[in-house]
């Protein structure tokens, strides 16, 4: 691939509870921030194409076609706009499609916005909406939900590799330490290992959600939006932008069986591995080149499993690295310096875009003090759709 495509503008709302606002407003807010960061607010019609990532606005907010509504909010007509849906990987898919649009030569500047409002409905209804991703007869009908699969996967992983519930809690403590410093994070309070694992009252305070996953091993239900402005760095339009682009070095994605029970090996996340391999190949990199990563920790077990599938740690051994502090901000390989989905939150359509916003903030050196990765060169994100049946990996470079 010879196209050089970079990110020149970022925007991000404070993740949390935006349920009293209109979804298109929340998305447009992040988009406006990105246009301002890119320096093209007045010349926003220089954008050739808008891609909006959203998973289920129809079910969460009783609204559809939000790409069209958002473009109007931004007063950006007649710029073309389409919705990209890939479950919780919608965000990274939108970045991938925008990349492909620019690489095709049909688009020079693209605006990517990911957003979701999940809190207009109750938590039980939101769990049900997310569960609609599952196979309707073989999984959804049984009453299964995403946390159920998280729990079953965690059980298999813990039984095979010796990882404990305390290790899952250590990941949460690290995520919260980072999120507490992230101005956009949903949950900005830290938690202590004493309180959620070691202490006498921890078993009840950190209660089970889907055994062995506990409340502090699962991400919150969150509203929010994030946005990026992408440009073909070799096009005449690249001159519009003052900030040095953060280049997208590699993109990869893959699918796996819909039904989790039909995976070849229930402990493997093949779509993650293949997506990662494709991204590395495109970027000409290996796992050893990655300085930090934003990995989809909807359940903290996934931070561990995904980090192994993309080759950052040996299979089954990542929890040992967590115990040694290797994945903290001061460690050898910071993972989820943003706080991850656990602390930053997980508005499903926004997450993939939010992860790339974080890659850009870190590579630009613009992260808050105390959670800035030291001298990063390459950052990688993995956005996990369904229960791993549709995964997108992105690598960004500070050239």
């Amino acid at each position: 691939m010879t196209a050089r495509i970079g990110i020149v503008g970022i925007g991000h709302t404070r993740f949390g509870n935006s349920s009293e606002y209109d979804l298109a407003d929340v998305m447009a807010y992040a988009a406006t921030d990105a246009l301002i960061d890119a320096g093209i607010l007045e010349q926003r019609r220089e954008v050739d194409q808008v891609f909006v990532a959203n998973m289920a606005s129809g079910l969460f907010c009783h609204q559809s076609s939000v790409a069209s509504s958002m473009v109007s909010k931004l007063d950006m007509e007649p710029v073309p706009a389409e919705l990209i849906e890939n479950g919780p990987a919608s965000g990274a898919s939108a970045v991938k499609i925008a990349y492909m649009a620019i690489a095709s030569g049909m688009v020079d500047v693209a605006l990517v916005v990911g957003g979701e409002i999940m809190r207009k409905i109750s938590g039980w209804e939101a769990t049900d909406v997310v569960a609609t991703m599952l196979h309707p007869e073989a999984e959804y009908a049984m009453g299964l939900t995403l946390p159920s699969f998280g729990g079953m996967f965690a059980r298999l992983y813990m039984d095979k590799y010796g990882c404990t519930e305390r290790d899952l809690a250590l990941v949460a403590v690290k995520d919260h330490d980072n999120g507490a410093l992230n101005q956009y994070a949903h949950v900005q309070g830290t938690c202590t290992i004493e309180a959620i694992a070691d202490g006498e009252t921890a078993g009840v305070v950190n209660n089970y959600i889907a055994e062995p996953l506990r409340i502090y091993s699962t991400c919150p239900v969150t509203d929010g939006a994030a946005a990026l402005v992408l440009v073909n760095m070799d096009s005449p339009k690249a001159k519009l932008f003052k900030k040095k682009p953060v280049r997208i070095a590699g993109v990869g994605s893959a699918t796996d069986t819909h039904c989790v029970h039909n995976r070849k090996d229930p402990l493997r996340l093949d779509a993650v591995r293949i997506a990662g391999e494709k991204a590395y190949r495109m970027a000409g990199l290996t796992p050893g080149d990655i300085s930090f990563a934003e990995l989809h920790d909807a359940f903290t077990i996934l931070e561990l499993a995904i980090s192994e599938e993309i080759g950052l740690f040996e299979r089954g051994k990542s929890y040992l690295a967590v115990r040694k502090g290797e994945t903290t901000i001061k460690g050898r390989l910071p993972i989820n310096p943003s706080g991850g989905l656990k602390s930053k939150g997980h508005p499903v359509g926004a997450t993939g875009v939010s992860q790339v916003v974080e890659l850009v903030r870190q590579l630009r050196g613009e992260a808050e003090e105390g959670r800035q990765v030291r001298d990063p060169k390459y950052g990688m994100s993995v956005n996990f759709g369904g229960f791993g049946n549709n995964v997108v990996a992105i690598i960004c470079a500070k050239d």
Binding site: A131, Y140, T145, P212
Partner: protein, 126 residues
């Protein structure tokens, strides 16, 4: 002549699918056979046959879920993934309160109306 058996009380079943071209079995129903690429027509069912997916199964993994979605009014439910003797795997509810990975269970199917819309068939492994 009318087929009066349509009024019989039916025991709910969950079906496995067998490709008649190559003999491969699948659950749930695919559109294309993964082994020989024979297509399945959901309308006529030509070249495919169904069979009840049932019997003894081994528990591969399980969880007890406390945060149930809208529509469920029980405190918790147990779920698991099992493997039948014919090699097919399935997800479903567990009817045992103290599951252990590797234990042998038997399947049964019940109708449930906890999901929105028409009642659905649910595996219960106990």
């Amino acid at each position: 002549m009318i087929d009066f058996s349509m009024y019989d009380v039916k025991t709910p079943e969950i079906l496995g699918y067998k490709c008649q071209t190559c003999g491969a079995i699948h659950y749930p129903a695919p559109m294309i056979c993964g082994k020989c690429s024979t297509r399945r027509d959901p309308v006529t069912g030509r070249k495919w046959e169904t069979f009840p997916l049932e019997g003894p199964a081994t528990l591969l993994t399980w969880t007890r879920v406390w945060n149930l979605p809208e529509g469920y009014n029980v405190k918790y439910l147990l779920f698991g993934i099992v493997e039948f003797e014919n090699g097919l795997r399935a997800s479903g509810r567990l009817g045992v309160d103290d599951p252990k990975t590797g234990m042998k269970l038997t399947s049964r199917v019940e109708e449930s109306d906890e999901r929105p819309g028409k009642p659905v068939n649910v595996f219960i492994f106990s």
